[in-house]
């Protein structure tokens, strides 16, 4: 029962984080490239599509080591999502033209989408092993997390912590949630445990990095803003 609850919470938080990353990227891209309506539709659509691609490929050998694969995915998601806004600003500052921002931004959207889509069958698999059910509960909780994410982004995160601060905050949340996957490590054969422990060290490390980023988010934001304004046009 306790593990079910933990699994549901992890699913909820992961879905929450993913959709917030995507909305952050959509908002940043519309600031860089304009045409907000199109940008939003493309972002949400691409996100869903790449989620579909991710879940399509999450079969076979990955399913056998669900918790391990998940751990790596979480690590990667936190790193990519947390640094996405800063990276986008740096690409903008490199003055390689709008096309580079377009490609880089959409690459990030697809990457985050594919990773998120990859998670769902793995989480469903963990659930199936525990409960001998089809795992649609995970699907449901996943949607619910996305629901909370969209609302929190529009009403809370964007107007208060802003794009930069939110990216760091969500990455921290992502890394912390990922740590709880360690609870499911017992499912593995002995030989896999070492690899599992190796991956588990990185999660706290990422969490510490993003905590530091959150503490300095205002200066970072001010610096990026200066960079953004100094580059455009002339």
């Amino acid at each position: 029962m306790f593990k079910n609850l933990v699994l549901c919470s992890i699913t909820l938080i992961l879905a929450f984080c993913s959709i917030v990353y995507e909305l952050l990227l959509g908002q940043a891209l519309s600031a860089f490239l304009g045409n907000t309506v199109l940008r939003y539709s493309v972002t949400v659509g691409l996100y869903l599509l790449s989620m579909g691609i991710g879940s399509y490929f999450a079969e076979g050998r990955f399913i056998r080591y669900s918790a391990l694969t998940l751990l790596w995915i979480e690590l990667f998601l936190a790193l990519v999502g947390g640094s996405s806004i800063v990276a986008l600003h740096l690409v903008h500052a490199a003055e390689l033209g709008d096309l580079s921002i377009f490609l880089f931004g959409h690459m990030l959207i697809i990457l985050i989408g594919v990773l998120t889509g990859f998670e769902i069958p793995l989480l469903m698999d963990l659930w199936r092993r525990k409960n001998q059910r089809e795992g649609f509960t995970i699907l449901g909780v996943n949607y619910f997390g996305a629901f909370l994410g969209t609302i929190a982004f529009a009403l809370v995160f964007y107007p208060t912590t802003g794009l930069v601060g939110t990216a760091f905050l969500i990455a921290l949340l992502n890394a912390v949630a990922g740590m709880f996957l360690v609870l499911f490590g017992r499912d593995f054969r002995k030989a896999k445990r070492k690899r599992f422990a190796f991956a588990a060290i990185f999660q706290p490390l990422v969490a510490v990095i993003f905590t530091a980023c959150i503490m300095y988010s205002r200066p970072i934001e001010a610096y990026l803003q200066q960079l953004y304004v100094s580059v455009g046009g002339a």
């Binding site: 909305l23 908002q27 519309s30 600031a31 490239l33 304009g34 309506v37 199109l38 539709s41 493309v42 949400v44 659509g45 691409l46 869903l48 599509l49 989620m51 579909g52 691609i53 879940s55 399509y56 999450a58 079969e59 769902i120 069958p121 059910r133 089809e134 795992g135 649609f136 509960t137 699907l139 449901g140 909780v141 996943n142 949607y143 619910f144 996305a146 629901f147 909370l148 994410g149 969209t150 609302i151 982004f153 529009a154 009403l155 964007y158 107007p159 208060t160 802003g162 794009l163 930069v164 601060g165 205002r218 934001e221 990026l224 803003q225 953004y228 304004v229 455009g232 046009g233 002339a234």
Partner: protein, 614 residues
Amino acid sequence: MPAIYFVTFVLAGCSILYELLIAQTLAVLAGNTVIWYSLTIGLYLGSMGFGALIFDRSKDRTATWERLFQIELMLSVLGAMAPMLLHFGRTVTAFGVLHGDAMLVMLSFFPATLFSIISVGILSGVELPLLMRAASERLPEDNPANRVLAADYLGSLAGGLLFPLLLVPSLNEFSIGFVVSAVNLLAALVIFFWKLRRVSSWPFRSVLVAGIALCLLAGLVGSSRIEQYFLRRYYYFQSYPDSLGEMLTGMENFPYVDRRMSAYQKIDFVDLGKSDVSDYLVDAYSKKYKRDKQYPKGKALFINGDPQLFSSFDEVYHEYFAHVPIIHHRMVPEKVLVLGAGDGLLVKELVKYGSVKSITLVDIDPVMIDMAMSHPILSKMNGGSLKDPRVNVVIGDAYQFVKNGEEEFDAIYLDFPNASDYNIARLYSREFYSFVRRRLSKGGYAVMNANGIDELTPPDEYGTQRPLPSNEWPTYWSTIKAAGFENVKPYFSNLEPHNPFAYSIVENLKLVQLPSTATFEERALAISRFVSYHIYTLQYGFIMMYNGPRDPQGALEDPKIRLDVLNSVRYQLAFRLYLPEPDEVDPDRVNTIMRPSILGGPLFSIRMPFMTAH
């Protein structure tokens, strides 16, 4: 590729289309576009999750196709009804507001909305596991659940792209609902012929499907009439009958509402007749109708249901906007950039100057520009200003235009809609103003229409007004200062309350009802209050931003242009209202694209055509 994947693809597209349709309708009816879109998409995903959850809990594992058929029928009916349900809820809300009935307001629009979003969401949430199960019944060895999921996501992408790019610019919301609903009905029909032909209750089902199909067809044919009905209900809501029961009567007696659609906005031309008191009073302040008897009267332009332009007193706004900065800076700019203002009325004021050499107008909406050039009423109002050889029209995003260019201008005019959502808030951001500053030549100025600094108390007996707590002046000031401008100077389109013509109009038309025993002083006071309240509704706020001395010196040669409202007295009045400048820039108030701080309008309010008119 088995057909089940294709069916999933189409059905997922239908579901997301319903939700986007509801979000779009909601955003038009209630404002706050980004927030309502997010809330709708979020609630949709949430209730889909709930649907999947209750499906996982249910023990019943029989009759997959049977249940799919039922769900398609329900979705079809619900989706077709949703836009009408929302509009009807809004109508009842407006009735409640007009009659001060708080219960009606609370219990009509938002419950109808939530019901539509959540029911479509739950049905789609049950639909997806059913499709997965149907697929695994057909192809048990392939583990097709993930592929169904992939088809579902792909369908959502297709729907999400189809909606803004193709459906919104070409069809009204009611016909979009009917068309998508027809696709769902078709899916039900396919399931029926494919799987359920031999079920005993087939005659009843055929009649049911045929009935729904007939209703959809009728709706599709009459969709423009439905739209016209609800548009008239919206714009002429003050003429509602006294009881709720009479609300379903037709609206044929009211003038036609001329609606144009584009990818960005819905533009309505409304004939209000000469009904508002301000329309009578404006004759006392403006020479417009004396000079030009043919000028349109009582016409109004609305964008997404928000008032933009009232033909009876449009010159108050545009003359103060265009000419006050020119007089203040003692110079007529040679190169002018106008951002927004696709209606051409601001450009009409600027082309009056012979020494203006070029005007570049940037507007995002080609439909608006087209209307300004060719609409019979609008082109009469702007005098064909956009066809002036000095005017260069650019169709594009104003933000990108100032960001990605180097050409400098002597004056930049910013005329944007109210910053009621994040899309538009970036046109009021520190970054945007920084780019504007870079595009100004030395000694040049930028001036903006500043919605929200006109949040002032009504004038008291001495004509004094104070800022309300909701006044956005500190936000604008901090943002513009942070963008590097040295001077931020507000002004208002103030008219003088002590105007003898206005008094005589009020007297002659008996606009103020007083008992016959009233003394001369009482009458004078009542009339002066009446007049000052009504010119208060014509008070718009503007902000000039520029570098160099705060009050530029120099001699402005009389440009010999004809003005209908502005004169030397009113020019002085424009600066009469004092708004205190904060001591330093407040970083939490600075509106940036990374962290917006401007968001006008309460969240849970319904748009009314005139209550936001000020």
